[in-house]
Amino acid sequence: MRLLNASGCLDALTALEVARSLDVFVTKTVTPMPRAGNDPVRIAEVDGGMLNAIGLANPGIERFCGDTLARLAGLEVWVSVGGFSVQDYADLAARLDGEDVAAIELNLSCPNVDEVPESVGEVVAAARAVTEKPLYAKLSPAVPDVAETARAAEAAGADGLSLVNTIRGLALDERTLRPVLARGPGGLSGPALRPVALAAVHACRRATALPIVGMGGVATGRHVLELLAAGANDVALGTILFSDPAAPGRIRAELEAELAAHGFADADNAVGAAHEADLPTLHQRSRVRVEKHLHTGLNVAG
């Protein structure tokens, strides 16, 4: 079990110590061209969570590779990439293939990319064709059947799943009743997303043999344990990092206590515990998974 940050929820360049307290640093989504992102206001707190409409602000792949990446030396880096066409993703994956990055996360929940399984499969296949790097498909839970999307990603050659991205929400200003965010709606993250994330991880664990990075509303060690039990192999922290940059250490300690209380020798032993008995093939699948990935150099035994 590795602890990651969720893409867009940490900048290692302004908070190196936080990045170092994680096993993997995931970048904010990088697009082919630089993007300034949306106008402010970009964030709002709502009951049970927060909304964001950052708009994929990033320096673009060239400046990212030429400048940012060098400054991340010493960290295990996953690069999140996003585009507006299948070709965009292929270009981004090809560009990163020769760089010193541990994995590529395909952000398949961009506002302008349809989340239907067909296009997820196409995007993954196009990236798969041009890189040896482990490919994680990051999926939206806002689909009729996320397991179907996961199967499409697996069939197209994804090495793992990142579950889940935000779902669309809206907040209105207390006084004016107009949308708080300049863009109108935004992505809902935090506590309200947690049951949704658990359901998505649970469904995808039953549908595929891919390793899963679970995320969505994680704020405590107990929450990590539940994602593991639902079927996640690794867990990412998002919104919690905003209020508590020391969360990784605290959560690891809480997780240890939870694991001990539930009689698990370690975190990896808890993976899939919510399925035990009615998902007998899980362990067999895990073994297959481990072997499949050994040659990629990526430790997915978790």
Partner: protein
């Protein structure tokens, strides 16, 4: 270093419509005037950015305007309550100025008491909506106070190094008058340390993170 720890409330007092929230200082570094802290707001998901208002040996104090759920929760804290505090964060005022003049508007005076102390009580011009709000002027020595419809920009003496904090229209007006002013801006913030990209403002024509580049910016920028 991003240090976050729980601190005890040592007292609260009403200052006009605002609340002065006093916190046990412990080993909190007060930082530079104009820097800010992220204060845990009870019952809310995200912390709220607050400028340091006063620093004594044993206490740090924040002046808070209860304008929404987070600030209302902070103003309702009571003696002995504990809250997590992260900071100091961002870039404060440069103190190497020759003829400082502090300018503040409304709750924007929050960082000025600490700034005044660090600059040996320079002159200050403060603007408020009502005389009730102006009660907060008592926290800033050597201050001239104006009430609406008079604006601070009408009474600001010339030839000073302006250090200002207040509502955006006030800062814009000062920027137009004095290109060398140092201005402390606000933006909604989720993290305060560069992680969320929520706090962007237009700086030099680009959208930049205020918590990283500011909150104090040169007027010329």
């Amino acid at each position: 270093m991003l240090t976050r720890a729980a601190h005890s409330v040592t007292g609260t007092e009403a200052v006009g419509p605002y609340t002065l929230l006093r916190i046990q200082r412990g080993d909190l570094d007060p930082g530079l005037p104009g820097q800010f802290f992220m204060l845990e707001a009870p019952g809310r998901l995200l912390p709220r950015p607050m400028s340091l208002c006063l620093a004594t040996e044993s206490e740090l104090a924040f002046l808070i305007d209860p304008i929404g759920p987070g600030t209302r929760a902070l103003c309702s804290l009571e003696l002995g309550d504990r809250l997590a505090i992260l900071g100091p964060l961002g870039n404060g005022f440069r103190l190497d100025v020759e003829r400082p003049l502090l300018v503040g508007g409304g709750i924007g005076i929050a960082p000025l008491p600490y700034l005044s102390e660090r600059l040996d009580n320079p002159p200050a011009v403060l603007g408020f909506r009502t005389s009730w709000h102006a009660e907060a002027a008592a926290l800033v020595p050597n201050a001239e106070v104006v009430l609406e419809p008079i604006y601070v920009t009408e009474v600001m003496p010339a030839g000073h190094d302006v250090l200002a904090c207040g509502p955006a229209p006030m800062l814009e007006a000062i920027r137009a008058l004095t290109p060398h002013a140092q201005l402390a801006w606000e933006a909604p913030m989720a993290c305060g340390y560069g992680a969320c990209w929520g706090c962007v403002v237009r700086i030099d024509g680009e959208l930049k993170r205020l918590c990283v580049e500011g909150p104090v910016l040169d007027a010329a920028a």
